[in-house]
Each structure stands twice: as C-alpha cells, then as structure tokens.
C-alpha cells in the first residue's frame, strides 16, 4: 500500500457465520484488508463467495460474528443498530443493482431522502440535491418519478442519492448488473469521476470483468477467503484478464 494513502477502511480478522439449525455456515473466514482513501475497489468472486456479505458488513448493514471493521477511524463493528443507522446516513452511500428508488417520490425527492435525517434547512437540502443531480446530469428530470426514467437514469439518480450527503464511502452492489453496456459505461465513468475528482472511496461488488477493469484494485474472494488482490493502479487503462493466484 502506498505510504501516502491512509486506509479509509480497515478490516481485521473478520469472520461471519450463520446458523442453519444445528449447522454453522461460515461465509467469511478471517478476512483482513485495507482500503485506502480515494480508492476504487472491485470485489469479485463466484456466487456464495461472501462478497455481498463483506460489502454489507463494511457498510454497517450487518454485524460480524468476529473481527473488527474500521471506516474512517470509526469502529463500525461495535456500533449499536441505531448508531449504525446514524453513521450510515452521514458516512455511507449505497448504490443498488436494481436502483431501489421509491416509486411514489420524484427523482428530486428520492435524492433528498437521506438529507431529511440530517439537521439542515430546506434551502440547504435543495442546494445539495441540485448539486448531486447536476453531477449526474439529471437536473432536467428531477420532477420525474422513477417509472418515467430509463434504467440508466434511475441508476444515476441512485448514485446521486448515494452521494448527496457527501459520504466518505460509497458502496455499490452490482451497480451495472441491470443495465445495457452503454448505460453501464456511463455509470462506471461517473463512479470514476467520484473517485478521482472528489476523492471518494468506492467499493463495488461485481461479476462483470469490464466493470472490474475500471477499478483501481480488484479483490477476488472464494469461499469466504481472499484469494487474489489485484492492484491495478499502475496497470489502469490496459485491458487484462483477472487471474487466480
């Protein structure tokens, strides 16, 4: 890890298991990793490898069975549910595969949702929402409901919603999974901008090698273990096949 980049996300001996009757199923096995600030990280691996579980744990959507997680020096794995909820509002932006915009709200209102939980005036909220929508290029569609937007547009609204609170970390679970290649490319470009120009730390789960290529670094998981850490910072821009060590 470059010495000048401090770790935004630190995971130490993380493990997660679920009980199914008398059986204990281990999803993650003693995982340790660091994600520097401003890095665009791709998590890859076959189904059931634990990548979504890892993402959920880092984003504070679930609690680990053991180990520690630090995000921006906050000990996330020790927080209570209400503390996690408050922390997520301020610090994490989530981008979903299926966008999950609220169908009864307009694009503007969807983006504004996280800000309603923060102590802000109406004018402050408005300013931030318009900035976020401007960044994703959807100011002219802000009065439209999700049903009137294309898949790509909905995902852009999702990204705007994820970054409207100016979080330190953006997590994305298969953000291009439901999009055509053109829209997917637009989304990835946007995420690139967020990372490089706004220094956001992005962790993205993906099956798509083309999406993974846009990341600075790719981690491969298999059966809950880290099997390959592919730092592409130097090789970014070239097309390479991901391999298993």
């Amino acid at each position: 890890m470059p010495a000048e980049k401090q770790a935004m996300v630190r995971v130490r001996d993380l493990y997660k298991s679920f009980s199914r009757g008398s059986e204990e199923i281990r999803v993650l096995q003693k995982l340790t990793l660091d994600v520097p600030a401003g890095e665009f990280l791709a998590l890859m691996g076959p189904s059931g490898s634990g990548k979504t579980t890892l993402l959920n744990l880092i984003a504070g959507l679930d609690s680990p069975t053991g180990g520690d997680i630090y995000v921006d020096n906050e000990h996330v794995s020790r927080m209570s549910e209400s503390e996690l909820a408050r922390w997520r509002t301020r610090s994490v932006g989530f981008v979903f595969q299926f966008y999950y915009l609220l169908p009864v709200l307009t694009a503007y209102e969807n983006v504004e949702l996280p800000l309603l939980l923060l102590p802000m005036t109406k004018e402050q909220r408005r300013k931030q929402v318009l900035t976020a929508l401007d960044l994703v290029g959807l100011t002219d569609r802000m009065s439209h409901r999700p049903g009137m937007l294309s898949g790509g547009q909905q995902q852009r609204v999702g990204i705007a919603r994820a970054m409207v609170t100016d979080p330190v970390l953006i997590v994305a679970d298969e953000p291009t999974g439901d999009l055509d290649s053109k829209s997917a490319d637009e989304i990835l470009t946007l995420m690139d901008v967020l990372c490089r120009q706004m220094n956001k730390t992005i962790i993205m789960v993906t099956h798509d090698p083309h999406a993974a290529e846009r990341a600075m670094r790719a981690l491969h998981l298999e059966k809950g273990r880290l099997v390959l850490d592919d730092d592409r910072t130097a090789k970014l821009g070239q097309r390479q096949k991901a391999g298993v060590a």
Partner: protein, 692 residues
C-alpha cells in the same frame, strides 16, 4: 304499547333487526362506493397542497397557482372548520349546557347557516305564497273543467290502484291491467295539476276567465271543497319540493364543509409536526395500489356506517334512560297494571296534592307542568287493517305539547316554530290532528285531508279528523300522531248520550300523566307522598322519565345487549382482522423498499411510523366519511327504522362525527400493529441477500 295490538313482539323485532342489519350493510356498501371518488378527491386535495408547498420552479403561472394553493387551501379548510365547529356546538363546549340544549354560538351559526341555505333553496325552486287560493266563483268554467279532469285521477283512486284490491294474489293479467290503469290515472293527474297551476298563475296575475254568457252551472259547496283541496295539494307539493331542496342543500353543504374542513386541516397541521415529506410519502403510498386502498376504504366505511347506525340507536336509548338533575320530568302511571289505565279524576287529585306543596317546592304554574296522555290506536280501514293504514295517537292537551313534550330539545328553531303553529291549530279545532311526516307518506295522506279513524282500543268509536299539520320530518314523532284530549272527551260523552251508558274505557282513559318538578329532592318527596297517599284508586306510582323508559325498554334489553356487546365488537374484530391481512400483504410487498429506507438511515421506528401513518390516515378518513354520510343522509331520509317499542325511527347524533374517525382510526391502528412491527424488524442484510 301492550294491549294496543300495535306493538312488535321480540321475535318480530329480532327478525326486523336482522333485515335492517342486512339493509344497513347493503346501504353502507352502496354509499361507500358512491363516496369513493370523494375519498380520492380528498386525498388529491391534500396531495395538491403538499405539491404546492414544494413547487418553486417552473413557469410563473405554475408558481402562482402553487402559491394560491399553498395559502388558499388551509384558508378554505380553516373557514370550513370554523363553520362546522360552530354549527355543531364545539365552541360552546365550555358553557356546561344541559343535555340537548344549544349554546349561543351554535344557535348563531346554525341560524345563519339555515337562513343562508333557505335563501339559496328559495332561489333555486319557488313556492306559492302563503294563503294562495283560487277564486273559483270568478272562474266557474275553469272549476268545472278541473272537476272533469279530476275524475278518475283523484288521490283516492290512485292510492287504490297502487296496491292490489284484495288479499288474494293477482294474476299477471290483473296486475298488468291495474298498473296500466294506475299509469293512466297518474298521467291524468299530471295534466290536471299542470292546468291547475296555469289557473293559479293567471289569477295571481289578476287574469280571470270571463264567465260564459247565458246559463252556467254554479259550483256547489262540495265541488268548491274539492277544488280547494286540489289547490292545497298543488301548493303543498310545491312547498314540499322547496323544503326538500333546502334540506338537500343544507345536508350537502355541511357534508362538503366537513370533508374539506377539519380533516385536511388536521393533516396540514400534522405535517408541521411530522414533516411534509413523511406525509407526502404516506399520501402517495395510499395511491400506489388503488384497488387495495379502495377495498380497505370500503371495509372500514361499511364497519363504521353500521356501527354508527347501531350506536345511534343505543345512544338515543342511553340518553332517554339518563337521569337529569334539574327540571325533572316524571311519569305517573297505574301501580299494579300494565297497561296503565287511570281515571280522569286522578288529574285533579294530583293538582290538589301539588297545591299542598310548600312554596319553593311547588311548581310556579302547576298547569304548565302537567300533561296527560291517552293512547289511541286506530285504522283507516277496519276491514283490511295493515301497518300502512294504522296509526297511533298521543291524545293530549295541545297547549301543553310545546311545554312538556319529550324530545323538544332535538328540534331546530324552525321545527319548534312549526310544532307551535300545529299545536295552535289543534287548540282551535278539536278535530285537528297532527301526524308525523313519515306516517303521512305511508298512509298516502296530506295536510288538509280529512280522515276517518276507527279506533282499535276505544271500541265502537269512529273519529273524524282533519289533518292540519305534520310533525317535522326527521324528528322522533315521524311515525306518530297527536290528537286533542277535548275530542276524546267529547267522543266519550257522545257515546254515553247515544247509548245511555258510559263507554267501558271512559273511566280508564288516562294512560299516563307527565309531571315536572323543580329538582330531585322535590321529586323524591312528592313521589313518596303519591305512592303512599291512598287517595288513588286504582293506586298510582311516579317514576323519573329515565326510569320509566328503562322499565319500558326492559323487554328489549337482550336485544340491546346483543347490539352493544356482541354486534358492534364483533364487527370491529372482523374488520380489524381484514385490515391486518391487507396491511400485512402491503408490508410484504414493500419489504425491499423498507430495507432501503433503513439503509439510508431511517430508524426502525420511522419505518413503523410510515406503515402506521398510512393505516391511520386511511382509517380516520374512511371513518369520517362514513359518519358524515350517515349523519347527512340517514337523518335527511328520516332516520333508522327500528321497531323498539313505539320509537319508530332513530337519528344519527352529531357526536357520531367524532365516533366515526375514532372507530376507523382505532380499528386501523389495531389491525396495523403487527404488520407495522414486522416492518420495524426487517433485517436489511437478509432482504438483500435474498434479492441477490
């Protein structure tokens, strides 16, 4: 009343109750469907305001419209709320008024509103001026023409053709023949009325058809009477039409002011506490599945409608049996016999006992605080007696009615005046009777008609009455009638004169005596004296009005208990289950959405509040619409028909306007607790791992 052959047995009442419940549910469904657009319009009204609150972009016209809505809607709602609150006496709540009495503000608001609606009604539909009449002597030709037109189209002929002539079932041919004759008679009557209206208009304009030259037949007294009767009918029909329009305007006006007044104001107010965005989400979520929302609305509407009607009956009966502290009214009846049949001379004994009371305990004017009742049952057709042609008279002193009659506090100022006029006419003419509006419609009679009533309990007495007025529609006397005590006394004297002996009921023709005393202490002491005086044969007893009603209602207590403790709670329980099911389905469908809200940082209680908020808004608005409709419509149509004792009809009280939202809200809340709790407990990681 026992012995009158007009009472309903418990079995009949139970069967009637089941039928009425079926009708209530059917009516509730029908009204629910009819008010569904109003429900969605009401949601739209509120949604529009929330839109206007946020609208800051767009063309100037759009922004101006938004600004007008943002300020205008709450102003309209506030105005409507003030009117409706004033109308229903909310501002008099701290005046500590006796039960049934209206406060100053309510009287003012009600008066102004009734005045305004009356003027509006008079503009929409005219009526003939007071005292409209036709001078037939100046238009004998017209008179004769009317008489010819009237032949075959008199009200009696039309009435006769409206029902089969005999109890024997008609053949289809006979039925078709009768109906075609009826149609022809009705058509003839319409033509006659049109011509009559022309004559009235002409005479009002001072135009009189010149009598033909030569010999022409003058109109006889009987013919003039018939013609005047026709004119009265036409004038009365026009007045009734105007009155109906006025009542409709009043009912609809209040209904819509209730819809756009207090309820939206409450929602607007709550948005300042709970946030506009939250309220917006709730309102819009109710619109996402219109079918489900509509069905839930209908379920709550029908529940609240039926419960309101049932509780209106119970509320009325509770009020009757509730003791009043001051100006206590009591009933004096025979002690050991039902039905009570006291001697007329008992009245004088009671008067002298009242005179013996010390000052301070004695009523100021004894005559004004006593009223006798005799119950007289009769039929218009002794050979074919039906409930439609039978009626029940309160035989009393007309001048005492507006001083002592129970239920006067239910009347509006206008209705009280009408009753006062009617009693005056009865006082001037012993033949005069006043019959309830609903009863008149049932018998197909009108004010101005003369009727012959064969008494059922006063055997061999046939009464010749003139209907001079009707009891105001929508009051508790809608099915009853009142006759003058003087007439009965004269009839009994005539019987004695004719037959050489007194009528068997001559010495038993006082069924009860109403008495009013200053307070409970006087009441109790006088009651004690009366019960033990030994001056009455047969012996009498005195009881408070409320106790007397309670005793009278005791045969119906099982029915009342069923209504209160089984039916209403049963309906509430079933609807709660239905709502619970519907909301559970909704929550299951929206699991992912709720998980997303949690991801964004919404606390579990916020997610729960959204689910509860939707249910509470739906429940309270549905309940409110149900009671507003029941109050406006049921009362306008003359009340809930339920044969409990001699109470023919029951009315929805104004207090139902808060029961309805309360029942709807509580039912929705109870039904939503479990699904809302499960929404609160949604685990984000589980939801998304399943989705993945």
């Amino acid at each position: 009343m026992p012995g009158m052959s007009l009472e309903f047995s418990l079995g009949q009442a139970a069967l009637a109750l089941l039928t009425i419940l079926g009708i209530l549910v059917g009516a509730g469904l029908f009204m629910g469907l009819l008010t569904l657009p109003i429900f969605f319009a009401s949601m739209f009204y509120k949604n529009l305001w929330f839109w206007a609150a946020e609208e800051r972009t767009g063309k100037i016209l759009r922004r101006s419209f938004a600004q007008a809505v943002w300020t205008g809607f709450p102003a309209i709602s506030l105005f409507s709320t003030v009117i409706t609150f004033g109308y229903f006496g909310v501002f008099d709540i701290f005046e500590k008024l006796p039960l049934g009495k209206k406060g100053t503000t309510q009287t003012l608001f009600e008066g102004k509103y009734d005045d305004l609606t009356r003027k509006a009604g008079e503009k929409i539909i005219w009526r003939y001026p007071e005292g409209t009449a036709v001078e037939w002597k100046r238009d004998p030709v017209g008179g004769h023409a009317m008489l010819v037109m009237d032949e075959g189209a008199t009200p009696e002929i039309i009435d006769g053709l409206s029902v089969p002539a005999t109890m024997k079932p008609e053949t289809p041919e006979e039925e078709a023949d009768r109906k075609s004759q009826l149609k022809a008679a009705q058509a003839k009557a319409r033509v006659r009325d049109q011509e009559l209206k022309k004559i009235i208009r002409q005479q009002q304009a001072g135009i009189y058809a010149p009598p033909p030259e030569g010999d022409h037949t003058e109109l006889s007294k009987e013919q003039l009477r018939r013609l005047d009767g026709m004119v009265s009918l036409v004038v009365e029909s026009q007045s009734s039409m105007q009155l109906s329009i006025i009542q409709l305007i009043r009912g609809v006006g209040i209904f819509f002011m209730l819809i756009i007044g207090p309820f939206p104001l409450l929602v607007f107010g709550f948005s300042f506490i709970f946030g506009r965005r939250g309220m917006t989400m709730i309102l819009r979520s109710l619109g996402r599945n219109l079918l489900r929302t509509s069905l839930t609305y209908l379920a709550i509407f029908v529940l609240v409608w039926v419960v309101t009607c049932v509780w209106s009956v119970l509320d009325f009966l509770d009020k009757l049996t509730q003791e009043k502290d001051a100006n206590m009214k009591g009933l004096i009846t025979e002690k050991y016999q039902i039905p009570s049949q006291m001697k007329p001379s008992h009245l004088n004994t009671i008067k002298s006992m009242l005179e013996e009371l010390p000052e301070g305990q004695k009523p100021e004017n004894i005559e004004d605080n006593l009223m006798t009742w005799a119950f007289v049952g009769g039929t218009l057709d002794p050979s074919k007696r039906t409930p439609m042609n039978s009626l029940f008279f309160f035989c009393t002193e007309p001048e005492k009615v507006i001083k002592m009659m129970p239920g006067l506090e239910d009347l509006t100022a206008e209705q009280f005046k009408m009753l006062e006029e009617a009693c005056k006419m009865m006082g001037q003419n012993p033949r005069a009777v006043v019959i309830g509006h609903a009863k008149l419609v049932q018998m197909n009679k009108r004010v101005g008609d003369r009727i012959q009533v064969t008494s059922l309990n006063y055997k061999d007495l046939v009464f010749d009455f003139e209907i001079v007025a009707e009891f105001p529609a929508g009051t508790r006397w809608d099915q009853s009638a009142a006759m003058s005590r003087k007439y009965l006394d004269n009839a009994l004297s005539e019987y004695e004169g004719k037959n050489g002996k007194a009528h068997p009921l001559a010495d038993k023709c006082m069924n009860l005596i109403w008495i009013r005393l200053p307070n409970k202490a006087v009441f109790e002491s006088f009651s004690e004296r009366l019960n033990t005086s030994g001056r009455f044969t047969p012996a009498v007893k005195m009881e408070i009005e409320s106790s007397a009603y309670a005793n009278f209602l005791s045969p119906y207590k099982d029915l009342i208990r069923f209504l209160r403790y089984a039916l209403a709670p049963g309906l509430l329980a079933v609807t709660t289950l239905v709502i619970s099911l519907v909301i559970s389905i909704g929550v299951r469908e929206r699991r992912v959405e709720m998980a997303v809200l949690k991801v964004l940082g919404f606390r579990p209680w916020m997610v729960m509040a959204l689910v509860l908020g939707e249910a509470l808004l739906l429940g309270s608005l549905s309940g409110f619409l149900a009671t507003a409709t029941a109050y406006s419509l049921v009362n306008a149509m003359g009340g809930i028909p339920l044969p409990i004792g001699f109470f023919g009809k029951f009315f929805v009280p104004a207090s139902a306007l808060w029961w309805g939202p309360a029942i709807g809200t509580i039912t929705s809340a109870l039904g939503t607790i479990m699904p809302a709790w499960s929404a609160r407990k949604i685990k984000v990681s589980e939801v998304f791992s399943r989705v993945a």
